[in-house]
Symmetry: C2
Subunit: 218 residues, 2 copies
DNA sequence: ATTTCCATCGCGAGAACACGCGAGAGAATG
DNA sequence: CATTCTCTCGCGTGTTCTCGCGATGGAAAT
């Protein structure tokens, strides 16, 4: 985990508006022989200005509650400047929407300020080695929404034909177009759709399509 | 993180077929003052038999590559026996399908045998405190499939009202019902739906609903 | 051999939808 | 003050859907 590198130390960036915490973190990083933090700023804007001539930044620790540009908004900006960097969110926020937004924006990990310093340093190492350090409560949050997406399909057995028609409906085709595409009559498609209604317990196309997608049937 | 409990130690179960590793792990757990591992078996079946009279098991460490019932298959069996337990997968497997299957089955965390012993013990504590310990490479795997599900919404800006109507449509309501529920006229809903069609570039309800769900707008 | 399931096809009536072509009011922006 | 958005409402016409009530033939299962 802790590479006793004889090579050049890895460049770590730090964006955190709380001055004391920033200094402590920077010192902690710099006391790791294989890491170096030369650029620590209190906002995304300041960081980008400060690193205007710096070619490479391996990992960026990013607070979210920042003056000026919010952290989540800053993520794409940082990626534009450092396409290959790995961004680790380090904040006090642990509210689902924020977390998901940040991760969706491309963050490689999510640490909390409540975590111990060595946990954070380990997180940097993990990010450098291709991992995604997540605070375990954040991980749990992701797992639950992850499982919410696939709520263990409640045993709906559609026939192959029904599934096929359903997926064409999900593309926005109308029954007649589906009939043409499958080379069957409108009535046939209609019958299949009725059977689908029965199985999914809905009474119109949009409901069927919605349910099918949410259940992962189409 | 490390509760210096004066209360009874927490019951940890262990299912692992490699005898030496099992013994090492059991000793490690038992050397933690707040944890106790009295039941360690080499298969799911053996574990269930051995704990037939045990009422409670807070955390179960579960290997996947087991004789008899495979670990993933064993997860629901263990839950049936211990509904409130937290199952931590501890294995050498790090292949995506297996990982996702295990987590979808309800595992509360996923550790690798390559992890250090103290990482595993910390994982148990995290699970006890409601977290989901994930090896950082596993976490990364989940994040990537997570982001694959939501492919960075292509900048569709629907209004709040449009989103609201869309989500009602996704529940299978027809326009008239939505009008009633929102206390507006049918025509108003109709207009909103037309605007949605324009923005999503579709021409019927099912297409709109499908696109909305797939884009995570509803 | 009978039953069951699946895919196919047909008609008709009434409901729901798609869309063109309007309009007015209020809020926000410039 | 004009413009732009958003939400609101209205009518008419043609299209599409929903559903009741059928049917046939083939394949698989019992």
């Amino acid at each position: 985990m802790s590479p006793s590198s004889k090579s050049a130390p890895r460049q770590i960036g730090l964006i955190e508006d709380h001055q004391d915490y920033r200094r402590v973190l920077q010192q902690a990083i710099n006391s790791s022989p294989h890491l170096i933090c030369q650029h620590a700023a209190s906002s995304v804007e300041a960081f980008l200005a400060e690193t205007a001539t710096i070619p490479k930044m391996e990992v960026i620790l990013l607070d979210l509650n920042l003056p000026g540009v919010h952290g989540v908004t800053g993520i794409p900006m940082l990626f534009q400047r450092f396409p290959d960097t790995r961004i680790l969110v380090l904040t006090v926020y642990d509210h689902k929407p924020v977390v998901l937004e940040a991760l969706a924006a491309g963050a490689s990990g999510y640490l909390l300020k409540a975590d111990r310093l060595d946990t954070i340093l380990r997180g940097i190492d993990e990010a450098l080695s291709g991992g995604a350090p997540l605070n375990s409560h954040i991980a749990r949050m992701i797992l639950t929404t992850f499982n919410a997406v696939r709520p263990a399909a409640p045993e709906i057995d559609l026939t192959d034909r029904e599934r096929e028609i359903l997926s064409l409906l999900a593309k926005g085709l109308i029954k007649k177009e589906i009939a043409d595409q499958l080379s069957v009559s409108y009535h046939t498609v209609d019958t299949h759709v009725r059977n689908i209604y029965g199985k999914l317990k809905v009474h119109n196309l949009s409901g069927a399509v919605a349910k099918a997608i949410q259940l992962g049937l189409a």
